[in-house]
Amino acid sequence: MILVSGAAAAALVAVTVLAIGVAGGRPDVAVIAVPALLTTLWAALTRPRRGGVVTLQPTTEHSETGQVRAQARLDVDPGVEAVVLRVASQGYRSQHALVAGGSDRTIPLSLETSRTGVHDMFRVDWMSEAFGAVLVTSPRKAGPVPIAVHPVARPLKDMPLPFRLPGLTGNHTSRRVGEGYETHDVHEFAPGDRLRRIDWRVSARRAIDLSTGRLGTLYARRTFATADATVMIVVDSRDDVGEDVSAWAGGVDVRMDETTSLDVAREAAAAIARAYLDLGDRVGLDDLGRRRRPVPPAAGRHQWERIQQRLVRVAPEGWPDRRQRPPQLPSGALVVLCSTFLDDEAARIARRWRAFGHRVIAVDTLPQVSTAFLNGFQETALRLVLLARRQRLRALGRTGVEIVAWSSSTAVELHALSRTRMPGGRR
């Protein structure tokens, strides 16, 4: 432990005052030093052998956008009177506190964030005090700990479906004849038809020979087959731009209480994936910015967890090469592409998918931008970039790609898309 200079000076002054008071025959002066000397004596009797250890751990493994929590665990010796904590996190103001020592305990820490993804949070600098704050340990640090902040999956109801439903079972009515609920037609009984499908009323009305009274041809009721949809969600992780345009080129920290395009993309992907999985459809996930195996389409709760885990780790990584071919997708899949469309790459790939016959929905994830800190040249440059982006999206719309901006009204837009009929896939 280290001696604090100020406390040493105070103790020295106390001893000097006591000495002067005694030497000068002035007990009224000498007693002024008594409290300091008694405090020192008291603290000396309870001084610790060592300082202690502070460890940092997240409280829950599943943190969502909003409040993120962690715990600082103090393992201190009985003689440690207090622990000075300074908790910091990138993009946040640090906070200081002096907490009581003496026993092992846990201090809860929290912060508010609008961001998602994996972030290093909660760095704790600490030192313990003892001996009436005369002795302190050297400053030490704990953390930061990587915390995965998951997006909140906003509930969506009516979702658009792919042009074809290739599945054999599911909740959606396909155009094929098969097992289902909606009537397709009444047809002459043929090999392969199930007996319980025979429509006896129709058969009696149309097939009884009135002269002989015998039953002729049987009629069976056929239904549309039900099927599940295959949905591939593709997140463009190459861009991660925030609301403050002056931070796009780096040099300025992206605020933690403002969402970036990748946060919007994560939120959109999570909400859409959750909505389709709740409908019993098969959902997969791919990343346009990384060449790694996609999460293959599947249904169920475990698939939701897989998608969540992959989604929270989607992050920009260097500057990826231009793709010669778009990522391969299951036949007949609906593609949901979440991107800012600030360059041609995502739009080019979306056009290729559309040309292959997939239904493609482009989710625009660029947040509402703020130009408050731009100078005139930068504003002009931004205007040109946004103009080029608008032209790109218009051209994309003309090729048959449906475009949705992720906002509070997205649910309505997706509902409208679910009602849109594009038979056969308009090219």
Binding site: A10, A11, V15, V22, I32, V34, W42, Y92, L98, I107
Partner: protein, 180 residues
């Protein structure tokens, strides 16, 4: 150059959000600094009969609540008491105020004004303060009771000074052993 920009205030970035240390009960450090200043002004003002010096000291302790400042305050207080005829009230008030300021400075010295001190720690410090203050005030009373019959032998002062010197040497040796 657009001259209109000279008259338009530049946009300010919003303050970054804070990290939170969720203590059950805590006191802001600025409040303890204010309490320190209040104790100095309200305690020493009437006794000294002047408000300027206590106010200056209070401002110093609010800005820098460092044990070094408390040490300087102790020296100033001892000098004032030395120059005055012995007075029980003055001595008792000085002992009370200096001890209170030293206790509060111990809690606020390592923190900025926005920091927080856990209430449990404040209560613990106040308990220690109360016990030590009782002992100190008892010694004040004893000192004044003994003033009339104070031994005037020179060897008495020599003995006491020797004892203090021995204590200082022991203290310095202990500090040498326990300091990096």
């Amino acid at each position: 150059m657009n001259l209109a920009n000279l008259f338009n205030p530049a946009p300010q970035r919003r303050q970054r959000p804070p990290v939170s240390i969720d203590l059950e009960h805590s006191v802001p450090a600025w409040l303890l600094r204010g309490a320190s200043a209040a104790v100095i002004v309200l305690g020493l003002g009437p006794v000294v009969g002047d408000l300027v010096v206590p106010l200056l000291v209070a401002v110093a302790i609010v800005i820098v609540p460092h044990p070094g400042v408390v040490a300087a305050l102790t020296l100033v207080g001892a000098g004032y008491v030395w120059n005055q005829p012995p007075d029980l009230l003055v001595c008792a008030v000085f002992v009370l105020v200096l001890h209170a300021v030293a206790t509060l400075a111990r809690l606020t010295a390592p923190l900025p004004p926005t920091g927080r001190v856990e209430s449990r720690l404040v209560l613990r410090a106040l308990a220690g303060f109360a016990v030590i203050q009782l002992l100190a005030q008892a010694m004040v009373v004893l000192a004044f009771a003994a003033m009339a019959g104070m031994p005037t032998f020179s060897w008495f002062a020599v003995l006491v000074l020797a004892g203090i010197a021995a204590a200082v040497v022991a203290g310095v040796r202990w500090v040498g052993r326990h300091t990096q």
